[in-house]
């Protein structure tokens, strides 16, 4: 039997998605002129959580690297501000780039050590390394020691409206950029190799993909992204302490966002972030309850909805806003949609 097929990398949903995306970008870019200060702050937070979740999902959902220790790089990005901007007087925005580069730089030797641990052991191992960073910052009194330090001085002289707008645009650039970046990355040869790796390490070795090299790259790139976001977070908070910067709660929140939204999809973290902020907004008055609810939700999703909320929607409706896979389509049906 002969089948007439075309190879498709775009879907109707993805074309609709492109139009929506342009609208979203325009609305977001103009926000500093029409939104209030509170909305902007929430917006910044939402956007950097979106970036963190996208990158964590790239590692875990596509690269098979489950890390509970990415807060190490948030800390490195944050403390780069203290060291270079506050202590050494460099431009704080330039420092964001330095923090990102440093995070990537430190990630390389760390990966050498951590890749000796596999699966769940790797996850806990990354957490221990993050704890080491927390303790180093806590014992380094020049950077504020255990009780932390205020870095307001670094942005003195920048007009508040301008500073808020700049922070917001940066967050938007990183948040929306993370979606675009992960999407383009996954559609490249690199992405194909990464997905092959997730599906079978042995098979991808046999077709000539160096597993360790690929994983190292993912780990380093993810670290640099976390370092960048970490710098941005503390450039808006303007106060940093080891316990707030290198906190396991970053990992907790990011993991839950990705798992509930849908691990291994680009849409999943977006849905997860929105859901997380809605829950937090509605349950804010009940203290720790929202974390309990989110934990229960994550466990329920893990046990009953394979692939999270978006994975389930995708299976049911064959929707792909970010098609990262090549699909063989005959005139009647999709032959392969995984």
């Amino acid at each position: 039997m002969r089948l007439d097929v075309v190879i498709e990398t775009a879907t109707r949903a993805s074309r609709t998605g492109a139009v929506v995306a342009i609208g979203v970008i325009a609305a977001v870019a103009s926000m500093p002129w029409w939104a209030g200060s509170g909305t902007m702050r929430t917006g910044v937070e939402l956007l950097y959580y979106l970036a963190l979740a996208q990158v964590w999902n790239l590692m875990a959902g596509y690269g098979g690297l489950i890390s509970f220790g990415q807060q190490a790089f948030i800390g490195i990005g944050g403390y780069a501000l203290v060291l270079f901007a506050y202590r050494l007087g460099l431009d704080p925005y330039l420092t964001l780039a330095i923090g990102s580069a440093l995070a990537g730089l430190f990630a390389w030797p760390m990966s050498k050590l951590l890749f000796r641990l596999h699966g769940a052991y790797f996850a806990v191992g990354t957490w221990i390394v993050a704890e080491c960073w927390r303790l180093v910052f806590a014992n380094w009194s020049w950077l504020g020691g255990g009780s932390g330090i205020s870095i307001t001085a670094t942005v003195r002289g920048i007009e508040p409206w301008w500073r808020e707008a700049l922070a917001f645009w940066l967050a938007a650039l990183i948040g929306l950029g993370s979606i675009a970046g992960v999407y383009l990355l996954l559609r490249s040869r690199f992405g194909l190799a990464l997905m092959a790796l997730r599906d079978s390490e042995v098979a991808s070795e046999s077709i000539g993909i160096s597993v360790t090299q690929l994983k190292t790259w993912v780990y380093v790139v993810a670290a640099a992204a976390f370092g960048l976001v970490g710098g941005l977070i503390f450039l808006t908070k303007l106060r940093i302490s080891p316990d707030s910067a290198v906190s396991i709660n970053w990992s907790v929140t990011i993991v839950f966002i990705v798992v509930v939204g849908g691990i291994g999809t680009i849409e999943g973290p977006i849905i997860g972030v929105v859901l997380y902020f809605l829950l937090r907004e509605y349950l804010a008055d009940y203290g720790a309850i929202y974390m309990i609810v989110f934990g229960l939700l994550a466990i329920t999703v893990m046990l009953t909805l394979k692939g999270g909320i978006w994975g389930t929607v995708q299976r049911r409706f064959d929707l792909h806003f970010f098609p990262v896979q090549r699909r063989l389509r005959s005139s009647q049906q999709t032959l392969n949609s995984t």
Binding site: Y121, V124, V129, V259, I299
Partner: protein, 290 residues
């Protein structure tokens, strides 16, 4: 010289506490290849359970073991049967993320119920007396008791694994959960029983933890990390290895504390990372797997 001896002694005693905590984690590793990320939080939960028992019945904290240990064992059975059995398999992600979720739920639930205030189980003069040797070397009775309890628990479990029918089934299900069914064993039940045994040791560890130090709901994760380090340093799958790993961790921390109180924990982590770098299989890997 006396300083050095005292540091080694304190480190060994600290190692006893970590050993007691690490047994349950090591067991779950060994039998189910499962990393329970909520392990530390279950230890803290057991400490609170002991606290409630002591307050309600007016018992000595050590007598509370009679209630805490069986209660934790039942909880372990339920957690494995109800949640984790559905998540173990070739893909490690579900079990890892579910226990991560449990960790957050336990921590925040304890926070809701008991607040963030620090607590301690009052054990009278047991926790404050000890014996003093010459030259400023001293040893508390309670840390010594903790170390002895850890060693006895490990010795008892080793015998149980080697000699009892259930212990044999634990080893068999760890080797091959499919074939064990052909022997008439339900692996879900065997796994749940193994988790019950692991949680029984968590009950002991939690009670001793609560007597030995002040605790609050946020202390679970550090205990998980210490237990994890002890297991990896010792070499996975061997309980005596876990005891040795705990000693290494305790001594490294004690040396760090001696140099600067802020460096203690960091020295422990460093010891773990160094051993990971030079001997990733741990100090005493189980020979039959090697």
């Amino acid at each position: 010289m006396a300083n050095l001896l005292d540091t080694l002694l304190q480190g060994t005693l600290l190692g006893g506490r970590y050993a007691l905590m690490a047994i349950g984690l090591s067991l779950a590793f060994g039998v189910m290849r499962l990393v329970n990320v909520a392990h530390g939080d279950f230890i803290v939960l057991a400490a609170y359970l002991a606290l409630v028992t002591v307050n309600a019945l007016g018992l000595h904290p050590l007598s509370a073991l009679l209630i805490v240990v069986p209660a934790m064992a039942m909880l372990g059975y339920a957690v494995q049967r109800g949640l984790l059995n559905r998540a173990i398999g070739r893909d490690i992600m579900p079990a890892l993320l579910i226990t991560f979720g449990l960790s957050v739920i336990i921590q925040n639930s304890l926070l809701e119920v008991f607040s963030a205030d620090s607590r301690r189980l009052q054990a009278g003069n047991l926790s404050s007396t000890g014996v003093s040797f010459a030259d400023g070397i001293s040893m508390g009775w309670f840390p010594l008791m903790t170390l002895a309890t850890a060693a006895l628990t490990i010795g008892g479990l080793e015998q149980f694994f080697r000699r009892s029918r259930l212990g044999r089934a634990f080893r068999a299900v760890s080797d091959d959960p499919e074939i064990v069914q052909l022997m008439g064993y339900d692996p879900r039940h065997v796994h749940a029983l193994a988790m019950a045994v692991a949680f029984a040791t968590v009950g002991i560890a939690g009670t001793f933890f609560g007597i030995g130090t002040i605790f609050d709901p946020a202390l679970g994760p550090p205990q998980l990390l210490f237990a994890f380090e002890a297991v990896i340093i010792g070499g996975m799958g061997s309980l005596w290895g876990t005891l040795a790993g705990s000693m290494v961790l305790g001594i490294a921390q004690a040396i760090g504390f001696r140099i600067d109180p802020g460096w203690g924990i960091l020295f422990g982590h460093a010891a773990f990372l160094i051993i990971l770098a030079v001997r990733p299989q741990g100090l005493f890997p189980r020979t039959r797997d090697a």
